[in-house]
Amino acid sequence: MAVTTTDTPAEVTWIHASRGWSIPDLGELWRFRELLYFLVWRDVKVRYKQTALGAAWAILQPFATMLVFSLFFGRLARMPSDGVPYPVFAFAALVPWTFFANGLTLSTQSLVLSQNLLKKVYFPRLAIPLAAVLSGGVDLALAMGVLAGMLAFYGIAPGAEALWIVPLLLLALATSLGVGLWLSALNVRYRDVGYVVPFLVQLWLFATPIAYPSSLLAEPWRTVYGINPMVGVVEGFRWALLGTGAAPGGALALSSLAAAALLVGGAFHFRRLERTFADVV
C-alpha cells in the first residue's frame, strides 16, 4: 500500500491485494510515531494501576530472583561468579534479562489483547508489539537504579566501558522484539503460542548464563554460545559494569548477528501475516 506523506489533497492511497513477501513499511511506522508514543504511554500507565505495590513490582521481580539465585546457586552450590560477589553478578544479568523476558511475553500477547483495535482502526500493526516491548523501558530504568545502588554497595566502580550498556540494551530490545514479532503474529491465529511463552522464557533463562558464568565453557564453545543473543547481552553487561575478564567480543558479534536475523525475519514474517490479522483474530 503506497501512501504519500503530505497532507495536501494530492495524497493518494491505493488499496489492492498484496501478495507474497513484501518489505515492512518503516516510513509508515515513523508517520505514526505519535500513536506509538501513546500506546507505550498507555501500557506504562495501565500496568500498575490498582496494584498495591505499584512500580515496586518492576524491581521486585528481578530482585527476588537474585535473592533466590544467591541463596541456592551462590551460597549452597558455590557457583563461581568470575571473582565478583554473587548477588551483583546475578543481578547485573537479571536486569537486561527481565527487560527481555517481559518484552517478549508482553509483545506476544499484544496483538490478541488489542484485537479490538485491529478490527476497527488502521495503523501500522508493527506499532503494537513494538509499544509492548518499549513499555518495559520504565521498569528497566528503575531496575538499573537498583543495580547502580548495588554496585555502590559492593564498591564496584565501572569505567568508561559502562557506556556499552546502551548498545547492549538495544541488542536485548532487538532480540525481544524479533522473537515478539514471530510469536505475536502466530498468536493471532494459534492461541497455543500464549501457553508456550512462559515455558519458552523459563528454558531460555537456563540457556543463558545468568545463574552461572559462561566461563564454565571452554573456548570455541564459549564463543559459539553467543548464538543465543542473550548470552552476548548478559556477558556484555557483566564485562561493562563489573569488569569481569576480557570483552566477550566473539560471542557478542555472534549474538548481534543472531538478533539481527531474528528481527529481520520476524519483521518480514509479521508483514506477511499482518494483512490477515483483522480477518483471523
Binding site: M1, D7, P9, A10, E11, V12, T13, W14, I15, H16, A17, S18, E34, L35, Y37, F38, W41, R42, K45, V46, K49, Q50, N116, L117, L118, K119, K120, V121, Y122, F123, L186, R189, Y190, R191, D192, V193, R275, A278, D279
Partner: protein, 436 residues
C-alpha cells in the same frame, strides 16, 4: 486536485469457510500440514477449498469530492466489509480502490478506550488512534470536553463513568476528527434518542462543510437526510446506485418481503388467550397502493387480510386489529364494535379484511394485535402480539399525501392567535414561532 475522492474498481473480498473449521490449534495445523505434504508426495492434490464465500464481489463506484454517499443494504450485504477495506483494516482479495485525501474512519466510537485511564487520558489516546496529531488534540481538547459535557469528570477514570457519559466522550472525540474523507459505520446506533439526534446533527454539519462522507447505516431516514446519493449492496454486489430516494425505495421494497408485507403469516404458533370458539389462522398486511412494495406508509391505506376458523355459524360483535409501539403503547384499535357493526362467520374457514384508510403512524416498526370476541364480553381469540408491521417513510417515490412538516401525524385542531391574550401568551413563551 482530483474531482473524484474515492474510486472503487472491481473490489472483491473472499472469506474461506472451507472444511467447516480451520485449524486454530498449532497441533492441528501441524498435523494438517504434514497430511497435505504427504498427499502431495503421493501425487494427490490437497482437497480443493471450494467452500469460498465472497463477502464482496465486483464492486465499483465513484464518490465525487465533497459528496456524502450512503451505503445501504441488509445484514450481510457486505457494507461493513467494504468500509473495512476502504479504511485499510483488511485487504481486498481482488480489485483496486484509490482514495484521494486523508481518510478518517469511524467504525465504532471509543475504540481503544481504556477503563483504567481518565477521560483526559482517553481523549488523547483515542484521538491518536483515530489519527489525530497531538497538537491537534491539544487545540481541540476544551471543545471536545464541552461537547461531551463531562468537564467535572475529565480526570476520573472512565470506568466510573455512566454509559451515557462514556458514549458522549467517545463520540465527542470522534466528532472532532477532521479528515478530508470521513468513513462512518453505524456509529449512530448507540446511545439514547437525544444522543443519536446530536450525533446525526454533527454528521450533517460535516456533510454540509463539503467534506466527502461515506456513510453506512440502517437508519433510512438518516441516510436520506445526510446523503445525496446511495449505493445499495446486496449479496456483496452493487444492486443499485443513484439518488438516495430511489435507492432507499429499492432497499425498502426488498426489505418488505422479509418483514412480511403482502405475505401470509401463519398464526398457529402465536401466543393467545380466549375460548377458542373462533381462532385466527393466518393474517397478512399490505398497502393496496403498489408503491413502496406494498409496505405501509404514513397517511396511506393499510389492509389486514384475516383468515379465521369458527366452530359454528355465529355473529361476532367485536373484531379488531390493534397497533402498538414495541414499548406497549396502543396507538390504533380498529374495532368493528366502535362502528356498531357485526360480522357473520360460517362454521369452518372464513376470510375477511379490515382496512385502515389514513394510517396515522410515523415510520417505524409496530406490533399488531388481533381480537375476536363478544360485544362487551369475553374473547373468542386474543393475540396480543400477532406480527410486526413496518411503516416506511412516505418520502420514497413522492408518496407524501399528508402534509407533515415535522413528522408528526397526530391530527389536532390549532390556529394562530394575534393580539390580546394570545399575544401576551406568546411573548411569555419566549416570543418564538415555530422553527420550521
Amino acid at each position: 486536485m482530483s474531482e473524484i475522492a474515492v474510486r472503487v474498481e472491481g473490489l472483491g473480498k473472499r472469506f474461506r469457510v472451507a472444511r467447516a473449521r480451520r485449524p486454530t490449534m498449532l497441533r492441528e495445523a501441524l498435523v494438517e500440514g504434514l497430511r497435505a505434504a504427504g498427499g502431495r508426495l503421493a501425487g494427490r492434490r490437497a482437497a480443493a477449498e471450494e467452500e469460498c464465500f465472497w463477502a464482496l464481489r465486483d464492486v465499483s463506484f465513484e464518490v465525487p469530492r465533497g459528496e456524502a454517499v450512503g451505503i445501504v443494504g441488509g445484514n450481510g450485504a457486505g457494507k461493513s466489509t467494504l468500509l473495512k477495506i476502504l479504511s485499510r483494516i483488511t485487504e481486498p482479495t481482488e480489485g483496486d480502490a484509490w482514495i484521494h485525501g486523508r481518510v478518517g474512519s469511524l467504525l465504532e466510537v471509543g475504540t481503544g478506550f481504556h477503563a483504567e485511564l481518565t477521560g483526559r487520558e482517553n481523549t488523547y489516546l483515542n484521538g491518536a488512534i483515530l489519527g489525530m496529531k497531538r497538537a491537534e488534540i491539544d487545540r481541540k481538547f476544551d471543545e471536545i470536553v464541552a461537547f461531551a459535557g463531562v468537564e467535572r469528570f475529565i480526570d476520573t477514570p472512565v470506568k466510573h463513568y455512566s454509559s451515557g457519559m462514556y458514549l458522549r466522550l467517545a463520540f465527542a472525540v470522534a466528532a472532532h476528527l477532521e479528515p478530508e474523507i470521513l468513513v462512518v459505520d453505524e456509529v449512530l446506533a448507540v446511545g439514547d434518542a437525544a444522543f443519536q439526534k446530536k450525533c446525526l446533527g454533527r454528521m450533517e454539519d460535516v456533510a454540509r462543510e463539503g467534506r466527502t462522507v461515506l456513510f453506512v447505516s440502517h437508519n433510512m431516514d438518516a441516510v436520506q437526510r445526510l446523503c445525496s446519493r446511495c449505493v445499495l449492496l446486496d449479496g456483496g454486489r452493487v444492486a443499485a446506485a443513484g439518488d438516495s430516494a430511489s435507492v432507499v425505495a429499492r432497499y425498502l421494497a426488498r426489505g418488505v418481503g422479509r418483514h412480511g408485507a403482502g405475505a401470509w403469516i401463519d398464526l398457529g404458533a402465536a401466543g393467545r388467550s380466549g375460548s377458542g370458539e373462533v381462532r385466527f389462522l393466518a393474517a397478512r398486511h399490505l398497502s393496496p397502493g403498489r408503491a413502496a412494495g406494498g409496505a405501509a406508509f404514513p397517511g396511506g391505506p393499510l389492509r389486514f387480510d384475516l383468515a379465521l376458523h369458527s366452530d359454528a355459524d355465529r355473529e361476532v360483535g367485536s373484531l379488531a386489529v390493534s397497533l402498538r409501539t414495541p414499548g406497549g403503547t396502543t396507538l390504533i384499535d380498529a374495532d368493528i364494535l366502535a362502528k356498531g357493526e357485526t360480522v357473520a362467520l360460517r362454521a369452518g374457514r372464513n376470510e375477511l379484511s379490515i382496512q385502515i384508510e389514513d394510517l396515522p403512524l410515523n415510520p417505524g416498526v409496530y406490533v399488531a394485535g388481533l381480537w375476536a370476541g363478544h360485544a362487551f364480553g369475553a374473547a373468542y381469540d386474543h393475540l396480543e402480539s400477532a406480527f410486526e408491521v413496518e411503516v416506511v417513510p412516505a418520502r420514497v417515490e413522492g408518496l407524501d399525501r399528508v402534509f407533515t412538516p415535522g413528522g408528526g401525524l397526530v391530527p389536532c385542531r390549532f390556529g394562530v392567535l394575534t393580539g390580546g391574550e394570545g399575544e401576551a401568551a406568546r411573548r411569555a413563551a419566549g416570543g418564538g414561532g415555530w422553527s420550521r
